[in-house]
Amino acid sequence: MSNKMHIKLTVNGEAHEFLAEPRELLIHTLRERLDITGPHIGCETTHCGACTVTMNGKSVKSCTVFVAQANGADLTTIEGIGDPDNLHALQTSFKEHHGLQCGFCTPGMITRAAKFLEENPNPTEEDVRFGMAGNLCRCTGYQNIVKAILATADELNAAKEAAE
């Protein structure tokens, strides 16, 4: 059965159209077909969160979405959140607070954290730990990731206040 279907995706504001088998996993579409390699494959079993992207406003593990399900979806990956010349506040904060060591989990971590802070701009430490529970890090012990996210919340709130 090689039943390819016509797929349309918007990724980081850019429209893509291609033919794909419905069983293709979204993470494979992003990495191998579209060359968007920020989202990583850690476990490929819905546990680690390294493949986290934002799909239609929800944080999802893109290893557990068929490309057919994502047909028509609007996606944001780490590439759409910041770039080396224009880092997102979370990226700066992760750097300043040593929120990463090997860096493998970081794209998924920051993609999830961005969505989390959008939904909860004034989190407690407990909120951060609970809201980030779908992303595993095997290096940091999480302490500095939590610090970085809390510091970003303060920074974004201060910037918002200053603007008002």
């Binding site: 059965m1 090689s2 039943n3 279907m5 088998e21 419905p22 069983r23 996993l25 490929e44 079993t45 819905t46 546990h47 969160g49 986290t52 929800k58 944080s59 999802v60 593990k61 290893c63 557990t64 979405v65 068929f66 057919a68 399900q69 047909n71 999830r112 989390f116 609970f130 809201g131 980030m132 529970a133 779908g134």
Partner: protein, 284 residues
């Protein structure tokens, strides 16, 4: 982790879904959030030649509380359950249990319908639905029929749902009294080693009714009628809790797996039920 190939369908109404199910029988499965089915397909423990995505089918989402009855459309996600103030006011145990399911990413996708219809003994909602004496709404070629959650589960992944039927909603009477959903798990995202759903009513200092169901301690959820009965008429003291726990232990049938040997699971089930009863009673 590539699943076997399948034909993909995304019908926009239930007639379209039922037509595909009628044509392909048990070669077809419906897909809700996919966070049970897709992992099984990736492991090739499930092969689904015809996959019917429900995301565009109208009328399957939403929470209503009307005239003392609560209804949740099958495609309502755990995130939506957690975020619904109306539901939390009417039946706070739904939010308490949903917060203990998997992790945020999974809860955005995971649905009440998928959770109850899949028949995985590890899922939390089936036991909760038995505790609440919920009714499942199943639509098929001959129309809609209603099955009690307490009669729905036959064995692991085996339910009363026929291959040509779709679970469209769950409904239950608005619960009264104290509640608790208590779950012991090894880590975030794991299924329960043991979990207990308890609703309890207190009048004049005594328990007048209690409903108790357990998760992941048999190949189906376990509604323990006798455990609830052991609390009725008591002040829910230690002796009453001992009796309820003993009754529950008589109803469960855990198996050894990577969450521990049978004796350990029975031990955890006892502790979890005791905690759940104490918390529900304190809220009654």
């Amino acid at each position: 982790m590539i699943p076997a190939a399948f034909e993909y369908y995304r019908p926009t109404d239930m007639d379209g879904v039922l037509a595909i199910l009628a044509e392909h029988g048990d070669d077809a499965r419906v897909l809700a959030g996919g966070h049970s089915l897709i992992p099984m397909m990736k492991l090739r423990m499930a092969e689904v030649p015809h996959l019917i995505d429900l995301q565009d089918v109208g009328g399957l989402k939403g929470i209503t509380v009307e005239g003392g009855t609560i209804r949740l459309g099958a495609m309502t996600t755990q995130t939506e359950i957690i975020g619904s103030d109306t539901l939390t006011a009417a039946a706070p145990i739904l939010r308490e249990a949903s917060l203990q399911i998997a992790d945020p990413q999974v809860r955005y996708m995971g649905t009440i319908g998928g959770n109850v219809a899949n028949g995985d003994p590890g899922n939390d909602m089936p036991g909760l639905m038995q505790c609440l004496d919920a009714t499942f709404h199943l639509i098929g070629p001959d129309g809609t029929r209603y099955v009690a959650a307490r009669d729905f589960y036959e064995a692991a992944y085996m339910t009363d749902r026929e291959d040509d039927e779709v679970l469209t909603a769950v409904s239950f009477d608005q619960p009264v009294g104290g509640y608790a959903y208590e779950k012991q798990k090894r880590k975030i995202g794991d299924y329960a080693t043991a979990a207990a759903a308890v609703q309890i009513v207190k009048e004049g200092g005594k328990c007048t009714s209690a409903s108790i169901a357990m998760t992941n301690l048999s190949d189906t959820p376990i509604y323990s009628q006798e455990a609830g009965a052991a609390l009725v008429g008591t002040v829910v003291d230690d002796a009453a809790m001992d009796a309820a726990v003993a009754a529950m232990l008589g109803d469960i049938d855990p198996t050894e797996d990577n969450r521990g040997p049978i004796e350990f699971k029975r031990h955890v089930a006892s502790l979890i039920l005791r905690r759940a009863i104490a918390r529900a009673w304190s809220r009654a």
